[in-house]
Amino acid sequence: MRIDPVRIALAMHPRWWRRRYGDEVATISSDLLEEGRSRWRVAGGLAVDAVRQWARGPVPDLTHSTAIRRQVAASAAALPMALVIPLVLYTTSYQRYRSAVWLQMGSMLPSPSWPNPHAFDHRAVTLVTQGANETVTPTGPVIHGWMSWPTYTSGIGYFFITVLALVCLLGLLTVWSSMRSALRHRSRHSRTQRFLVWSPAVAMVAIVGLYLWSNYLNQQPKFSFVTVHGHLHFISTVRHSLLAHVVSDSNLILGLVTLAGSVVVMALLASRVELSADEARVPLALSRMIGRIVPLITVAYSLWALGLQLQGGPTSRGQVIVSYAHSGWWPLALMCLVYASVVSVRAVGAESHRLEHQVLSTTRG
């Protein structure tokens, strides 16, 4: 069968484009080829356009009312939060992680534990707390030699949370800068601009500050060595102080308030600020990208939480007490989710205004 580069280039376009323009472009291409235009040149131009169309996104559907679109966008943006918050609350339960202990055998690197940065050998241990003192007693052989499937599952989840959150963060930084430049010369939007500039910065500083403080309070481990079956093992025991609990709780509350507040405020802003089509293009494209990443982060969270619950469960050889930096990941991920919502609502709000403008122009025309 002969390979037709023009058909391949047409097939590279997104589905919405093929439905709307596919037939007519195929007809024109065929006319031009009959005239003697180079097949590869036509295909090359179409392939470049395919990339452009993927980045641009579909022509908006004018049949829906803009108000409904805005409400749907706000709900869609808030939905991942509704899924994630119970997981966050469940997995950061202090009862479960009141104290943590782990035994480490050998070196962590290099190890087959990639991509789990917290992988280590698990032993069945007994943890006895008497007042401020904690005693750790190894009670059996290594339960998970190197990696168990729950450890691996949580490791994969953690890895993807980190990667996806960083991609979201980069996208959001770009959106902020484009929003700022769009609003810079409009005095009537100075309040919006100030909000865009300072609210993420203030929330980020507060959350990171509380996180570091809480981490500092928690990171006062007692180090010791024990001998198990003739081998020397390193033991680190961490006891969470009451103040650390309070700070962590404040962090959680601040994160949730920022989340709810940002969604509400940005939904309000979205209904008031008007951006031109050019100004809205980059935020819209990034918003779509982030909108697709947010559900993936939710899946990664679920994997991570599921892996941890299984990993920390009792086995026939004893209870494995899981130790990990449970507060290390979620402020960053939560912030990303907050601003994913914000940007979705904000950008769709801008699009709604553009559509209204477009409808008016068409009507007047």
Binding site: A9, Y21, E24, V25, D49, R56, A277, G365
Partner: protein, 103 residues
């Protein structure tokens, strides 16, 4: 010598809008008109890249298709945008040519 790429994207937009200023045209007619007008052999990829953007911006609109050749026409906003752009280009061209003559 390699061809200068100054303003090629803008050129394509202006060419498409100018061609449609004469009246509604489908894609193939646009390509032929632009070729006759400017000597530029525009490909379907470039043409539809521009048309999709102009349609999203509300400067052109598609008409009912008779067959697989859908015609496009300028909207009111498209006419205003094209006129403003051509006036700017004319003003800049006059100044540029005068300065080149004086140099």
């Amino acid at each position: 010598m390699a061809r200068s790429k100054i303003g090629r994207t803008q050129d394509a937009t202006i060419l498409v809008l100018t061609s449609l200023a004469e009246g509604p045209k489908h894609g193939y007619a646009l390509i032929k008109d632009i070729e006759a007008m400017s000597g530029e052999a525009m490909g379907p990829g470039t043409l539809y890249g521009v048309l999709v953007r102009l349609e999203q911006e509300g400067l052109v609109e598609a008409l009912e298709s008779e067959d697989r050749r859908r015609p496009y026409r300028l909207t009111g906003a498209g006419v205003v945008a094209l006129r403003a752009r051509l006036e700017t280009i004319t003003r800049v061209a006059k100044i540029g040519l005068r300065r080149l003559g004086a140099a």
